[in-house]
C-alpha cells in the first residue's frame, strides 16, 4: 500500500504541475462546453435545454478523460522510460503491478476532480442533471470504467511507443479521431449508419451515451443505450482493454533489453 501511495502521489503531482495537461484536459473541454451551450446546441428545444446542457457536460467529461488516458498516461510513461526510471525501479524491491496501480489511481483521481470542475461549470451554464441514486451510481461506475479503459489504451501506447512526443501524439491522434468517429463531441444522429454502430460499441462513446442517458435525456443521446448487449459489451471491452494493458505493461514496459 505504501508503494502504491508513493506512485499515486507522484503521478498526481506530475499531472497537476503540467500546465499543458491542465489546459487540454480541463480548460479545453470547458471552452468546448461554452461553445456547445452557446453555439452548437443553441437550436435545441427550449424545454429540454437544461438536459441538453447536462448532456454536453457529460460529453466534455468523457472528452477530458479520454485525452487524459490516451495521451497523458503514455506521456508520463515515456518520460519515465527516457529518464531511466524503469531501470532504477527494476533494481529496487518494487512490483510492476504496484507501480501501474499507483499510476492508474493517480489518473482516476485526476479525472474525477476534472469531472467535478466541468460539472460545476456546466451547472453554472444552466445544465440540470437527473439525479437519482441509481442513475448517479451507475454513471459513476461507467465513468470509472471509461477511465480505466482510456488508461489501458494509454498504457498500451506508452508501453510500445518509446519516444515521448511519439507516445503523446499517438494518444492524442487516436483519441481525437476515435471521439469524432464515434460521435462523442457531436450528435449521434449526425453519424452515418456504420459509424452509429461503431459509436454503440466503442467503449468510450458507449459509456458516454449511458451516462448522458441516465443524467440528461434520451433526446440528447439519440438512442437508448440501456440494452443488455451494449452494456455487457461496453463493460467487458473496457475491462479487457484494462487487463491487457496491465499484462503488456508488466511484461514489456520495465524490460531493459
Amino acid at each position: 500500500m505504501i508503494q502504491i501511495n508513493a506512485v499515486f502521489i507522484k503521478t498526481l503531482k506530475e499531472l497537476y504541475r503540467n500546465k499543458t495537461t491542465i489546459f487540454w484536459t480541463i480548460v479545453w473541454p470547458v471552452i468546448f462546453l461554452f461553445l456547445g451551450v452557446f453555439i452548437f446546441y443553441r437550436g435545441a428545444p427550449q424545454s429540454q435545454a437544461p438536459q441538453f446542457r447536462a448532456g454536453i457536460t457529460v460529453s466534455m467529461i468523457v472528452f477530458s478523460l479520454m485525452l487524459s488516458g490516451f495521451s497523458t498516461m503514455p506521456g508520463l510513461i515515456a518520460i519515465d522510460r527516457a529518464g531511466g526510471l524503469f531501470l532504477k525501479l527494476r533494481s529496487m524491491p518494487v512490483k510492476q503491478w504496484k507501480d501501474i496501480l499507483g499510476r492508474i489511481l493517480g489518473l482516476l483521481f485526476y479525472v474525477l476532480i476534472s469531472a467535478i470542475l466541468i460539472i460545476l461549470i456546466g451547472v453554472i451554464l444552466g445544465a440540470r442533471f437527473n439525479l437519482t441514486l441509481s442513475g448517479v451510481s451507475v454513471s459513476l461506475g461507467f465513468l470509472i470504467l471509461a477511465t480505466l479503459g482510456a488508461a489501458g489504451a494509454g498504457i498500451i501506447i506508452g508501453t510500445f511507443i518509446k519516444n515521448i512526443n511519439g507516445a503523446i501524439i499517438t494518444g492524442v491522434g487516436i483519441s481525437v479521431v476515435s471521439m469524432s468517429l464515434a460521435g462523442v463531441t457531436f450528435p449521434y444522429s449526425f453519424l452515418p449508419g456504420a459509424l452509429q454502430a461503431f459509436s454503440r460499441y466503442y467503449p468510450f462513446s458507449s459509456s458516454n451515451a449511458v451516462i448522458s442517458y441516465l443524467l440528461s435525456t434520451q433526446e440528447f443521446v439519440g438512442y437508448n443505450p440501456m440494452n443488455t448487449f451494449q452494456l455487457s459489451f461496453t463493460i467487458v471491452s473496457s475491462v479487457l482493454l484494462f487487463i491487457i494493458s496491465l499484462i503488456l505493461y508488466s511484461k514489456f514496459c520495465w524490460k531493459a533489453d
Binding site: A6, K10, K13, E14, G84, K88
Partner: protein
C-alpha cells in the same frame, strides 16, 4: 563471502557477445571501479549486477544471493537522470522512500537526513527542473544512500558534469557512501584513480585488475621527472640516482630524466639537494602516468574511443 562475485559471466545480444567469460570479485566495503571505453560491456555488467538485466551464462552473487534476491541491498544509479523534474528534491526522495516501504513520518525524517548528507537542504523544496546537473546527480546519489542499502552501483554518474561538479560528486560519494561497497563504472581515468581497485574492461573482457599503482607499475608506466641544469655532471647523476625508483636515470640532450614513485615528495627534495651542492635547476618538469595510459598500453586503444 564477497560483496559481489561474478564467475564466467557471458552476455549475448543477438549475434553480439557483449561480455565474455568475466570473472571478478569485490570485497565488502571495497571501492571497485570498472573502467573501459564506450561499448566495452561495462554498463551491461553493472545492469546485471543491479538485477536490471539477466546474464546469458555464468553466475552472479550479491552478498551470497542472486541479484534479483538482493534488490533491497542494492542501490543502483543508472546513467540517465531518473529523478522527476516536476517534483521537488524532497518529493523525489519521499517517492523513493515510499517505494522502499518507509511510512510517512519515518520517510520525512530519513529524507531530511539524506538531503543534509548530499548538501541539498536549502534547495530541497525547489523543483528538480530548476536544479543544476551537479545538484541533480547529488539528489540521485541520495536515492542509493537509504538505510539498508549495502552495495552502491553507479553507472557513469558524472556524465555531463564539469570537472568541479565531478570532483564535488566524488568527494560526496567518498564521504557519504564509504561504509558501503561501491561499484563504479567510468571511462574517465582520473575518476577511477580514487577507487581501491580497478578493473579495466575491453571488448567484454577484463583486461587487467589491480590498484591504480599496481596497474601502472605492472605495465611499466611510472611518473617521470625531467631535470635541466645546463651542465652534465656526475654529481648531479649521483643525487638523482638516490630518488629514482630502481630504474636508471636517463641522460637526455639537455638534462636528466628519472622515474619516481612520489613526485610531490621527491621534487622539493631534488631541488633542495641540487641547490645545496651548488647545482642550479633551469627547468624541472613532471609527467604523471594515468590509467588512460595503462589502458592504452594494454589494449592499443584509447579509453575515450
Amino acid at each position: 563471502m564477497h560483496a559481489i562475485e561474478v564467475k564466467k559471466l557471458t552476455k549475448v545480444y543477438g549475434k553480439n557477445q557483449i561480455l565474455k567469460d568475466v570473472n571478478l570479485s569485490v570485497e565488502s566495503g571495497e571501492f571497485y571501479c570498472l573502467m573501459g571505453p564506450n561499448g566495452s560491456g561495462k554498463t551491461t555488467l553493472a545492469a546485471i549486477l543491479a538485477s536490471v538485466r539477466e546474464q546469458t551464462e555464468g553466475a552472479v552473487e550479491i552478498m551470497g544471493m542472486p541479484p534479483s534476491g538482493a534488490r533491497a541491498l542494492i542501490g543502483y544509479m543508472p546513467q540517465e537522470n531518473f529523478s522527476s523534474p516536476s517534483l521537488t528534491g524532497r518529493e523525489n526522495l519521499l517517492y523513493f522512500a515510499g517505494l522502499l516501504g518507509y511510512r510517512k513520518q519515518k520517510a520525512k525524517e530519513v529524507t531530511g537526513d539524506l538531503l543534509k548528507k548530499v548538501g541539498l537542504v536549502t534547495d530541497a523544496d525547489k523543483l528538480v527542473s530548476k536544479y543544476s546537473g551537479g545538484m541533480r546527480k547529488r539528489l540521485e546519489l541520495a536515492t542509493i544512500l537509504f538505510e539498508g542499502i549495502k552495495i552502491l552501483i553507479l553507472d557513469e554518474p558524472t556524465t555531463g558534469l564539469d570537472p568541479t561538479a565531478r570532483r564535488n560528486f566524488f568527494e560526496l560519494l567518498l564521504r557519504a557512501g564509504r561504509s558501503s561497497t561501491i561499484f563504479l563504472i567510468t571511462h574517465i581515468g582520473t575518476d577511477a584513480e580514487i577507487a581501491d581497485r580497478i578493473g579495466l574492461i575491453d571488448n567484454g573482457r577484463i583486461a587487467a585488475e589491480g590498484t591504480p599503482d599496481e596497474l601502472k607499475k605492472n605495465n611499466n608506466l611510472r611518473n617521470a621527472i625531467t631535470v635541466e641544469t645546463g651542465i652534465m655532471d656526475n654529481g648531479i647523476l649521483e643525487i638523482l640516482n638516490k630518488f629514482t625508483d630502481g630504474q636508471n636515470v636517463i641522460e637526455t640532450e639537455s638534462g636528466y630524466k628519472l622515474s619516481s614513485d612520489d613526485i610531490s615528495e621527491d621534487i622539493p627534495k631534488i631541488i633542495k639537494e641540487l641547490d645545496s651542492r651548488g647545482f642550479s635547476v633551469k627547468r624541472l618538469e613532471s609527467t604523471t602516468s594515468t590509467l588512460d595510459d595503462v589502458f592504452y598500453k594494454l589494449t592499443g586503444r584509447s579509453v575515450k574511443d
